[in-house]
């Protein structure tokens, strides 16, 4: 059995799907943020997999991997920012349940 592109793409799609579900179904704001990270990881995995197995894999250029690197860095920054926002909202509303948030204030 050899591990080829389809395995990675399956895993990537699974991660993305779980993240997507979590984002819609979870009620805690922190869990929603974590689900967003899962989706990002799924997309990054697809990028790296295409770099490794896709067309042009023989050359030494790895733009997909570089893109994934940038994406994960900005993902980390985004999570930090999101967590801070959640904390700030928690301080004023005393809740982390997204159902209780409304945008009109």
């Amino acid at each position: 059995m050899s591990v080829d592109l389809s395995y990675f793409l399956t895993l990537s799609a699974g991660l993305f799907g779980i993240g997507c579900f979590g984002m819609l179904a979870k009620r805690s704001a922190l869990a929603v943020l974590m689900s967003a990270e899962l989706m990002l990881t799924g997309a990054n995995l697809a990028l790296v997999a295409f770099t490794r197995f896709g067309a042009g894999a023989a050359t030494r250029h790895a733009p997909g991997a570089a893109l994934a690197l940038f994406a994960s860095v900005s993902g980390a920054a985004e999570f930090a920012l999101g967590a801070v926002i959640v904390v700030v909202i928690y301080r004023s509303r005393r809740t982390v349940w997204v159902d209780d948030y409304d945008l009109k204030g």
Binding site: C20, L24, R27, D102, L103, K104
Partner: protein, 652 residues
């Protein structure tokens, strides 16, 4: 085998085997190490910080002396570089790859300037040990002095335009910090802002010049560019623009005429800081940059003419302003501008080594004068020379030292200023140009006049009585203040010694430019003319201000508008202030209006328009976040399907 190598080296003597670039790098980094040590360990201790700084300045001075000794033995250009940054310019061919080299060089010009920089820095720091003892901000002073020394050494030892500009900007920052040392005083804070703004005008010119040079030659190294300027790669007009842009940086840093206004104000700095700025920095950055980029100026004779005109006009105008200035420290600052102007004029007229020599000798005497002025101002608690007088009896040591400084700066034989002015005149006489020779003579005469006007006004005559001031309490300084000043006086008197006797390691034969005529003219006409002009100035000053045989008030009473225009520096500073307030500030107000009304207004309208479009849907209940997320996913899915459909339709 190592033993024989050692023996062979020993037979040649250490100066033959020591690497000059090792010592130049050593000298460059010592002040930086002192700075880091103070910041890391002794930031709370005034004593320890001061002594660390002085100790490292001493070692740096020793390094500069060794470097000079090596260069005297082997006067050659050497550089030690490391690749700092490497990038591709995206063009094909040889020029596609650009490597930024960082390193330090060693040649006679750099060795001489480095000696002046580290020496003036060391002696002013020794002086400051006593002078700043009872002041606040001692640690801050030593930090900024070390920083200034580091950045000036960096300018002197840079191997490329890029590196030079880096250190050049550091000297701007250091000057700002030093001038604003007493930032609680409004005048000092304002002077510091002015220094930064006015020199930046020149710095931007220099930066533009460097960028232009890079895009035409694809190189920034001084040594690599040396032979390329005249190679026909760039036409005469391009070379003229390049050299004028580089010269703009010199004009800003060396306080030449259009950008001179910061220099008199910077006398607000404490005396040792002013000595560092006016003695070392203006010469070691301004004139040094000219000397280092001489191949560029040689390739463009029209630029050399501009340089000569700017230098000559500055030298005469600043000397006239110094004649009418009443503030002791501002007077010396004008004298600095005039002396540097003379060096720039000599450079433009083709007297390369004499120009560098003038900047070199000027550094020591002007630093000494600033240090002496600092003590006088502190003891008398006034900066106006009209309120001084009669100090010769009360401050004999300071008087003797100031006399040496004034005589050396004025060009009274046989002190160093005379030797360098003599060198300028001798080199100019060998290529006769009546106008330039006349200007040099006039400036020498005027420098004798204003220097001794200052000296006689301060030291001769009766002590002016003022309220709440007791002349009996004036004391001569002792200890470290005197040590620093005496050391500077020795150098101010003696750096021209070898050129005076025309033997040994003469400066003008040491710092030369290949293909330029160097050395002294065979005739003695230059020496005679220089000493006559300087002594005539001294005699007039003695008559008018010393013996008061012909009081100055009787002369100026006839033409009252002349001294007034002179003491306002021909109203140039006022013109700049008027221009700034009426043109620059107005333009700023217009730009502010455009920003707030046009640009911000457009952004606000767009946002308001989008908000307005939601009006018809206001009746709906506010959506919750999960619903919004669902909507976003649905939209994304829709976009994906649409994109797939379009791409499939286009058969991509």
């Amino acid at each position: 085998m190592p033993l024989t190598a050692l023996l062979a080296a020993a037979a040649k003597g250490p100066l033959d085997t020591w690497s000059p670039t090792f010592f130049s790098g050593w000298t460059l980094f010592l002040p930086l190490i002192a700075l880091l040590l103070i910041v890391t360990f002794t930031i709370d201790s005034r004593r320890a910080s001061a002594w660390i700084s002085v100790f490292f300045a001493l070692v740096a001075f020793a390094g500069a002396v060794v470097l000079l000794a090596i260069e005297l033995r082997h006067p050659a250009y050497k550089e030690h570089t490391l690749t700092f940054l490497q990038f591709f310019t995206g063009q094909s061919g040889v020029a596609s790859e650009f490597t930024l080299q960082w390193g330090f060089l060693a040649d006679p010009l750099a060795a001489a300037m480095l000696l002046m920089v580290t020496g003036v820095s060391l002696f002013t720091q020794v002086y400051a040990l006593g002078y700043l003892r009872r002041e606040d901000g001692v640690v801050r002073f030593y930090l900024s002095a070390s920083f200034m020394t580091f950045s000036m050494s960096g300018v002197v030892l840079s191997t490329s335009y890029g590196e030079l500009y880096f250190f050049w900007a550091l000297t701007s920052v250091a000057t700002f910090v030093l001038v604003g040392h007493w930032w609680q005083r409004d005048a000092a804070a304002r002077a510091a802002r002015k220094v930064l703004l006015v020199t930046q005008v020149g710095d931007i010119g220099l930066l533009a010049g460097i960028i232009y040079i890079f895009f035409r030659f694809h190189d920034l190294g001084f040594q690599a560019l040396r032979s390329q300027y005249a190679g026909g790669k760039v036409g005469q007009n391009g070379l003229l623009i390049m050299s004028l842009l580089v010269f703009a940086g010199v004009v800003g840093k060396a306080a030449q005429l259009p950008l001179h206004t910061w220099a008199p104000d910077s006398a607000e700095a404490p005396a040792p800081a002013a000595a560092l700025i006016h003695g070392a920095a203006m010469a070691a950055t301004g004139v040094y940059l000219l000397a280092r980029t001489y191949p560029l100026f040689i390739a463009s004779p029209r630029a050399l003419t501009v340089v000569a005109v700017v230098g000559g006009v500055t030298a005469v105008a600043a000397a006239l302003w110094a004649l009418a200035e009443d503030n002791l420290k501002r007077l010396i600052a004008y004298a600095t501008i005039s002396e540097i102007g003379l060096a720039v004029l000599a450079f433009g007229a083709g007297a390369f080594s004499a120009s560098v020599f003038q900047a070199f000798t000027h550094g020591w005497s002007k630093a000494l004068l600033f240090l002496g002025a600092g003590i006088i101002v502190r003891e008398l608690r006034t900066e106006s020379i009209a309120e001084m007088g009669g100090l010769w009896r009360r401050m004999r040591t300071t008087g003797v030292l100031m006399l040496i400084g004034a005589a050396a700066a004025a060009g009274i034989p046989p002190l160093s200023g005379f030797v360098s002015k003599d060198a300028i005149l001798s080199q100019l006489l060998s290529q006769p140009n009546a106008a330039v020779t006349a200007v040099v003579m006039v400036v020498t005469f005027l420098s004798g006049l204003y220097m001794f006007r200052m000296f006689f006004s301060v030291f001769a005559g009766p002590t002016v009585r003022r309220r709440r001031f007791e002349p009996e309490r004036i004391r001569d300084p002792g200890g470290r203040i005197r040590t620093g000043m005496v050391a500077l006086a020795v150098f101010a008197a003696a750096v021209g010694l070898f050129d005076l006797v025309r033997a040994g390691p003469e400066f003008v034969r040491f710092v030369t430019f290949p293909g330029q005529k160097s050395g002294h003219a065979a005739s003695l006409i230059g020496s005679v003319l220089t000493s006559l002009a300087a002594l005539l100035g001294l005699a007039v000053a003695l008559l008018v201000y010393g013996l008061r045989a012909l009081p100055a008030s009787r002369i100026s009473g006839r033409v009252p508008f002349v001294p007034r225009a002179l003491s306002r520096a021909f109203y140039l500073g006022d013109a700049y202030r008027w221009g700034t307030e009426n043109a620059v500030l107005r333009a700023g107000q217009v730009a502010d209006w455009v920003d707030r009304v046009v640009i911000d207004g457009a952004v606000d309208r767009v946002g308001g328009g989008v908000a307005g479009m939601t009006g018809p849907f206001r009746w709906a209940p506010s959506p919750r976040i999960p619903q919004l997320a669902l909507g976003a996913f649905a939209g994304l899915l829709l976009l994906g399907i649409l994109a797939g459909a379009v791409l499939g339709h286009l058969k991509l």
